[in-house]
């Protein structure tokens, strides 16, 4: 028979009663936790880290200059001296590939950053001002989207010349439109949600609402946006190289290497295969990591 005297008060406080035993897991911690459980995404992450290291140290491993030609040893196959062989002017392909990959990745990263920053600001402006400002801004996006991409790209490269800056402008000039649209939609939707409404009613300052509610919601969209945009930019840049627009010698990117390799495909396939493989690996790693991030960041998958 249980009686109250069989129990003894060991002491408690009001504070302890409200204490949560398990640590609070923020949205980001949770996402990271789930990402870690995804082996494919983790492998991609490791591969990406490896690639980043390689584009930094790769060109120096063999000790060959990627610019200086040596026509006596042009178009060689793989050997102990030249791991990936040499190109049409006798330059070490191994070193050139990593220099090229560095440029490709850098271009993609900067273009993505431009896309996200411009897109977010533009989208936020559309959502914030609304009305006729929104209408005009939307019309601009529509015009940009309806103009064939190729036209804009070629013209920009013709006006600005063949250099890194022109390439970045050409790549990002229309890319930000989709981000702007998404951000605009997102903000308009968030404005209407109950929790933002609740926060406003509770007297939260606008800055608080932006930091606590808008930013986290948008960040996941932007991260996903970035993970698809990066490989996209890497391709687009490679495609432009085939049209003869893009970087000029001695600057090289993977696209430049691939378009050079294509021209001698029938004779020296390795000059095409190596840069192509590196490109595929980079793009695949970004894509798979992006897929993993999507799963990890999607609140609806949170259990």
């Amino acid at each position: 028979m249980l009686t109250p005297d069989k129990f003894k008060i060991v002491g408690y406080t009001q504070e302890e009663a409200n204490k949560i035993d398990r640590p609070t897991i923020s949205y980001w911690q949770d996402a990271w936790r789930r990402l870690k459980k995804n082996p494919v995404a983790m492998v991609s992450l490791v591969v990406l880290c490896f690639l980043v290291i390689m584009v930094i140290i790769g060109p120096h491993i063999r000790g060959y200059d990627y610019i200086t030609m040596n026509v006596a040893e042009k178009n060689q196959g793989s050997s102990a001296k030249y791991w990936f062989g040499t190109d049409y002017l006798g330059r070490d392909l191994f070193s050139r590939i990593w220099v090229g990959a560095r440029a490709s990745i850098l271009i993609a990263l900067v273009a993505t950053a431009l896309k996200l920053i411009v897109g977010t600001l533009y989208g936020a402006a559309m959502a914030h001002f609304g009305g006729w400002v929104d209408d005009i801004l939307m019309r601009i996006i529509e015009v940009l989207n309806s103009l064939p991409n190729l036209l804009i790209t070629i013209l920009i490269m013709m006006v600005l010349g063949n250099n890194m800056f022109a390439l970045l402008v050409a790549l990002s000039i229309t890319a930000w439109c989709s981000t702007a649209r998404q951000v605009r939609g997102m903000i308009k939707q968030l404005k209407e949600t109950e929790y933002v409404y609740a926060a406003e009613v509770l007297g939260a300052k606008p800055l608080h609402i932006i930091i606590k509610h808008y930013v986290p919601n948008m960040l996941s969209i932007l991260i996903l946006n970035a993970s698809t945009a990066i490989p996209q930019f890497i391709f687009t840049e490679a495609g432009l190289s085939f049209l003869g627009i893009g970087l000029t010698a001695p600057e090289i990117s993977l696209g430049v290497l691939i378009s050079q390799g294509q021209k001698t495909l029938d004779f020296y396939p390795s000059q095409l295969v190596y840069p192509c493989v590196v490109l595929c690996v980079i793009v695949m790693a970004f894509n798979l990591l992006g897929d993993g991030l999507r799963d990890a960041l999607d609140p609806r998958l949170r259990q």
Binding site: T68, M69, L89, A249, Q260, K263, T264, D266
Partner: protein, 586 residues
Amino acid sequence: MHNMKKALALLLAGVMTIGTLTACGDGTTEVATAGDAGTVSTATGSGDAAAAESTGADTQVMNVRTTAFGNNYDVQDMGWRWMMADCYEGLYRNVADSEGEHFVLAGAESVDVSEDGTVYTFHLRQNAKWSDGQPVTAHDYEYGWKRLANPEYGYSYASFIYNVVGAEEYNLGTGSADDMMAVALDDYTFQVTLEVADPTFEVKLVATPLYPTRQDIAEAAGDQWGKDWTLCVYNGPFCMSELVEDNKMVWTKNPYYWDAENTHLEAINWYIVSEDSTAATMFDNGELDQLQTSGDYSIKYQGEAEAGNVQRLVSDYPGTIGLRFNFFGNDPSGLMSNVKIRKAISYAIDREEMIEAVYGRYKAAYSYIPPAISFDGSSYRSQTEEVISTEQAEYNNNPEKLQALFQEGLDELGVTTPISEVTLTFLSSGSTTESQAEREYLQQTIQQKLGCKVELNTVGDSSLLKAERDAGNFDMMYGGWYADYNDPLDFMYTYYTDAYGTSFAGYSNPEYDALIDSLTGETDIAKRKEIYQELENILLIEDCAFAPLYYSTKEVFLQNWVKDYRTSSFGASAEFYITYIEGRNK
């Protein structure tokens, strides 16, 4: 000898004048269909050759590669030399054979030249006909020549006949057509009167702008003349019978051509094949009978030719490519005004190595006038020494000497910047493997030998290149000249002050101009040669206005069953006039 085809082309070109719109249509369309009869479907593709193969006997059809069609069917515009010359015919035809490039009579059967060399009377062939059956008359020549000079049309080659009495005035708007002394004396006699005797006049007659044009047809076509091929008539061995832009063009034999019995091919199919790789596939499969290619493909087929699997035709082509220096006075480095600087740059380039490393064909150039240019019956270069070879040899692959020369130049200019901090800007265009390789090679080799920096200013296409050139955004640029007519003067005249506007980067030397002027009316061959030598010497040694790198050559691969195919430099680049097919199906 490969240049014979050019001559033929010219012959053809003469025929072109007009006929009625339907000329080729009713005259030869049937032939066209007959030629195509063995072929499959209405596809615009390349099945024809294969189909022809299966029919047994040799089908007299040739399949040829090109990378672009011309954009103009007006002979006076010369937009399209390779085509014009096979479908049209002028007074003379250019021939290339073992004796080099020369001309033979074509539309003209004989010519009388007045003693002072100013009046040419051409007696025309009376059996020459247009593809609508009308005879080719002296009036067609008169109309063609006057059309060329007509200021309303603004033809680029009008200056070709400025020496004809009254032509320059007419072209510049101060005279009239009636005063221009290129006239038909009767139906078959055409007479031209020159201001001064000119030994280069006759070689120009092989060029398409001087071909006849049918007034009735050209005027009926009005605005569409030269634009709509279906409105044309032809007086050459072939006429055009089908065109799909960016894809295929078909020529069929012209039954009215005066020498039709010696024309064997029934049809010629031109295909646009833009990638060398595709062209190689088609050539290997026998879908193409003729191939012009570049780079590694060229090397591959050179090997095949040695093994006897294909034929290879190589000939000199009248073009010299090299570096032009900035004489506008606004060069980014500020150094181009010094001849020693220019020489150091020029001599830093090892021509032999460059040709081997970058092109795998062509010939190293040490002069401006290329071997393909004839003078007094043989190659000009065989009569006189290469201009810069001796001097270049002293400096070749000798960086100390080159840098010393460069430094002397800097000192003369009073520039104290060390060589290693000098930056030169190199302007070029193009995105092919070769153009990439050549600009990188030049950048590297100049950097390595001279120790200065070379920056590349690379643009996508030629109109941008011209804009950059005119803006002076270069120290040196890639450029050259391909001849319009077969005389050293054509090359030397390019550096006459403002002869071609800004094209030659602002070079101007009164002494040079005076020498060129002294050639006017000079008929003494020995004297002319002396002047040419002097001119080349000023241009390349005294002034070093141009650094020649290579002489162009032309390389064509043919299947073994193609016989008597010719190429020429001043007429049709592909001469099918007497070509025939034998043994395709073996």
